[in-house]
Amino acid sequence: MSKISVNGKIQDVNTPISIIDLITQNNVAQPSMVSIQLNGQFVNRDDYENTQISEGDEVDFLYFMGGGQ
């Protein structure tokens, strides 16, 4: 088990884990509606499968919010 930070909260996960698996583990209903930052750096959607998360990493899920009216 490793400790990583997801949206500012500590999570215990089995590392290494890919971003795509982390998205699944966090029950993101619509992966196409989330943008991912790893340690403050935007991750290209094409790299979700081959980007591995390790101990101490900070991951942020940024959701598309289209409302305003």
Binding site: N7, G8, Q30, S32, M33, S35, Q37, G40, Q41, F42, N44, R45, D60, L62, Y63, F64, M65, G66, G67, G68, Q69
Partner: protein
């Protein structure tokens, strides 16, 4: 600009602020701000900027007031139903503060008119309800080197970031629009009315900070909140070298009218 006695009284609570003062208030009165969308976010933004005395407020919106808007679009009143939102907004702004010059555009912001319209303003505020226009505002502002505030709300959540030339833009974080017809892009998803006020007033504060030069803008950061937990987070962001519009090899070099989700088009038709 020399303030009259009446103006000094009107703006006294700004003038009393050490960081603002007469000088800062003058900057506000000389400011030109474009609000895109006179809805949930645009309403509080317009009300606060009018009260603050922003010299010129441009409002662009192609919609008329619908009864279902009144739950959150606090600049529109019950007798305004069926009135163009830009007219309803202008009437309220004039009543709040006759120092403000209001310019209305009863139309949608498009790839064709965006650059021409925004060039007349110091700052652009995104109060729109759909991704095609949110990306259009971003691209137009990046290309025209114009600062802007992005705002988005959905259900119980809100997010906002401020862009100034050189900082991380909306596309640095959100590469391209989500596929059309994904449910939460639709205005039908619902929103807690007061969320619009919470986010819109943050955007209005950013505008006033930008005009006066006070404080640190929400640049290279994105602020998100959830009203169910009342947790606010500010996430640091970085300029993204692979950004399609402001990266080192941009692929977006002109403006694009992205396809609207079908339900959004239908709701626009219904409102007409």
């Amino acid at each position: 600009m020399d303030f009259t006695e009446v103006q000094i009284q009107r703006y006294s609570r700004h003038i009393l602020l050490q960081d603002v003062g007469v000088e800062g208030q003058e900057k506000i009165n000389n400011g030109k701000v474009l609000i895109v969308g006179a809805g949930g976010l645009g309403a509080p933004i317009a009300l606060y900027l009018a009260a603050a005395g922003v010299g010129t407020i441009g409002i662009i919106d192609g919609d008329v007031v619908d009864l279902s808007n009144l739950q959150r679009q606090v600049i529109h009143f019950t007798p305004d139903v069926n009135k163009p939102k830009v007219i309803s907004s202008k009437e309220k702004i004039n009543m709040i503060n006759s120092d403000v010059k209001v310019i209305t555009y009863y139309k949608l912001l498009t790839a064709e008119n965006a650059l021409e319209i925004i060039q007349n303003y110091d700052f652009v505020v995104d109060g729109t309800d759909n991704f095609p226009v949110k990306f259009l505002i971003n691209d137009a502002c990046v290309i025209a080197k114009k600062p802007f505030s992005h705002g988005g709300i959905l259900r119980f959540d809100g997010q906002t970031l401020t862009y100034v030339p050189g900082s991380a833009c909306y596309r640095c974080l959100f590469h391209s629009p989500p596929p059309p017809n994904v449910v939460p892009t639709c205005s039908q998803a619902g929103v807690l009315g007061a969320i619009a006020g919470m986010l819109g007033t943050i955007q209005a504060a950013e505008v006033l900070k930008y005009l006066t030069g006070v404080g640190d803008l929400l640049t290279n950061r994105i602020l998100t909140f959830n009203a169910k937990t009342m947790e606010f987070r500010t996430i640091k962001t970085k300029h993204n070298d692979y950004c399609p519009v402001c990266g080192s090899h941009p692929t977006v070099t002109g403006l694009i009218d992205y396809e609207q989700a079908v339900c959004e088009i239908e709701s626009l038709r219904k409102n007409k």
